[in-house]
Amino acid sequence: MNADSTVAPLATPMLPEGVPAGSRIELLPSADGGSHALLLVPAGTGESLDVVEAARCWVAESVAADSRGPIAFPVLLRLYNVELAWSPTRSAAIAVEERFATIRDAVVDFTNLEAELHGIETGIAEAWPNYEADLSFAYGFTEATLGQRERLLGRYAQVMSLHGRLARLTRRITQPAPQPPTLAGQIGERLRERLRVEERDEAADGELEVLCGHYDACGQRASDYTIARRENMLSWTIIILLVIETLLFAADLLASAGT
């Protein structure tokens, strides 16, 4: 799901204790080659708190590795006739069997979207130390620093690529949920709200503007310097040629004066 790192597929985890017969775990393939484990618990008549707690704990077991700043995992949602606990690597849903397919699709869809956003955020976080180190290049280049150009180009390409990924993601994030509301739409909407996806998208966009602007300026300065250097060399070449021409002309004059 995170396009920057490839996650090895998980082995199917064991069913937790306390969930009723008919419960199952599905390993959902993710965009990055890894997988997301979804525990589906068939709802009976009036869920006992123990079942909900067992499902929640099962998701909570996986969350140590997941971090999204202040957001606490698992995220718990209580929708119409559906209970859902979500974390980036595991989720659990309690619902009637007929809803399982819809829930599965909604969880896959959201998990991929969130993982992509997280991947972009990670990319941005990694780009900031480089930005600090590269600050002076936005002002100008010297002969000694010109060699950094290729490296800067690489960083520019990196942040531009993140920006492109974010632009494509933003379209999905801001797409309104279908109306009249569907269960899948409600799950996606509520998860987006709880995971502060829109705010994070805006923040990432703001950061990428700064990063792209910076590397754009660096590129500009580098080409300014190269052009200036080329012009300089050209001027010197012309001067040298003129001097040579003058010397040859003088030599020619002297020679002709002698004869």
Partner: protein, 463 residues
């Protein structure tokens, strides 16, 4: 029209201390170059009209007895009411809900609807929704732009639009879903108003919110910032014109009757009290009768609010509101969802239309029993068990419906019933728009702007 100029500011009388009167006063004080001298005359002992946040006796827990939800249009364009609430520094709380309880089951989305009412009903609802959106776009809704197929004589009643829904189950679902918003029956409201009330459940059109801790805080915040003189328990009984050319208002209070004169008068009263006001002079009387007749389409509400020792529904139902099928469709609010810090539970039932009228004639105890019986079976017993206190508010004829074929007047004629002979007599009301607080805000703004322009033209009191 009085002719003389003087240095004293305009003297403006505002009849009615509900949101309409207060908003007009605030806007006048804020926009006029020379602030006018304003008197707000209020018949009851409280300010705020139908914005009424009640408080239980058993525990100091608030509940909305009148206007419960405010409409947020900011996704489409400017929302002056929401802006005002923000300017006043009041915290707001979004109100979410999209479910109807049918046969004890929460229908919260299309998937549930398909299970409960069948695929045919679900398909019919989707079709109705999409056709509705095609008929009235969010911008047309926001700007009240004319839509020939929905407005005017050819528009007919909302019932005709409902009849286009092929599936009876889906039709009943839509009818129940919006019944208490309409406060009347589908046959007694226009296609447009009915469709607007249906589409407002789509977030592309609006979202709902309330002032956290009680909507009446809006009233208190406005009043605390007004310089206007507010007179409570003073009832306006007649309006006319005195020998000096100024408008006169006769009032009645514990101290007896008295008469005052004003340079301008704003009637910020709903239709029902307007009917009881006397208007002196044939021209004014006729103009006001015409105005009242055009806008007299009463609609009805009945509110039941019950305080419980705990919010026993949480966990099974967590929205701020949902719809019940009883009473031809009734909105059930989780009033305690408005204040996340509240431990106790408050449920509020909003009955509308004929059901409200019929039940309002019954004793409170019977109404409360019917309200509890309308709950799904899994809430009924706990409701009886955890109940602490009950309040019933009857609002018969207190709001307006917009009947099919009804044509709104141009904005100036709406607000100035007798332009020729009484150009400084204005009316402000929600019934001139859509019977909401947003509507009364627009109305107040229109009149305040107009009066401000008049005061700019003639800065001193015209008397």
């Amino acid at each position: 029209m009085p002719q003389h100029l003087s240095d004293t500011p305009w003297d403006i009388g505002i009849l009615g201390g509900g949101p309409g009167g207060l908003l007009t006063a605030r806007m006048l004080e804020q926009t006029a170059a020379v602030p006018p001298s304003i008197s707000i005359i209020e018949a009851s002992d409280r300010i705020g009209g139908k914005v009424l946040t009640g408080m239980f006796n058993a525990l100091p827990v608030p509940y909305e007895a009148g206007a419960a939800e405010l409409y947020d249009y900011s996704a489409i364009d400017e929302d002056p009411l929401k802006q005002l609430i923000a300017d006043l520094g009041l915290p707001i709380q979004p109100l979410d809900g999209s479910s109807l309880i049918h046969n004890d089951q929460l229908i919260g989305n299309l998937d549930d609807l398909r299970d409960s009412l069948g695929s045919e009903a679900a398909a019919a609802l989707v079709q109705f929704h999409h056709r509705g959106r095609d008929r009235l776009s969010p911008r047309e809704f926001y700007e009240a732009l004319p839509v020939p197929s929905l407005d005017g004589c050819e528009g007919g009643s909302f019932e005709t639009l409902l009849a286009s829904i092929q599936s009876p189950a889906a039709r009943r679902y839509v009818e129940r879903f919006i019944h208490s918003d309409l406060a009347t029956e589908a046959s007694r409201t226009s296609r447009r108003y009915g469709l607007e009330n249906y589409l407002m459940n789509d977030p592309a059109y609006m979202q709902l919110y309330c002032v956290a801790g009680g909507n009446e805080q809006l009233i208190e915040a406005i009043v605390s910032r007004l310089s206007a003189q507010i007179e409570r328990q003073v009832r306006a009984i007649s309006v006319g014109r005195g020998a000096d050319g100024r408008l006169t208002v006769e009032t009645e209070s514990a101290g007896g009757r008295s008469q005052r004169s004003f340079d301008a008068v704003v009637l910020a009263l709903p239709i029902e009290p307007l009917k009881h006001l006397r208007f002196h002079g044939d021209g004014l009387h006729t103009a006001m009768q015409r105005h009242i007749a055009h806008h007299d389409h009463p609609a009805d509400y009945l509110r039941v609010s019950i305080l419980f020792d705990k919010a026993f529904w949480r966990g099974r139902w967590d929205d701020a509101y949902c719809m019940l099928e009883d009473f031809d469709g009734c909105c059930l609010y989780d009033e305690s969802a408005r204040d996340p810090a509240e431990d106790h539970g408050v449920l509020g039932w909003l009955l509308g239309g004929e059901a409200a009228v019929a039940w309002s004639q019954r004793p409170d105890a019977e109404i409360v029993e019917a309200a509890i019986s309308a709950l799904p079976s899994w809430l009924r017993e706990p409701a009886r068990h955890h109940q602490l206190e009950v309040r019933v508010h009857r609002w018969i004829g207190a709001v307006s419906s917009l009947p099919g074929g009804w044509q709104p007047l141009p904005l100036d004629r709406r607000h100035q019933p007798d332009a020729t002979d009484h150009p400084t007599l204005f009316v402000v009301g929600d019934y001139l728009f859509d019977s909401t607080l947003n509507g009364v805000h627009d109305s107040a703004e229109y009149v305040a702007d107009w009066l401000t322009t008049l005061m700019l033209d003639r800065p001193g009191s015209p008397a």
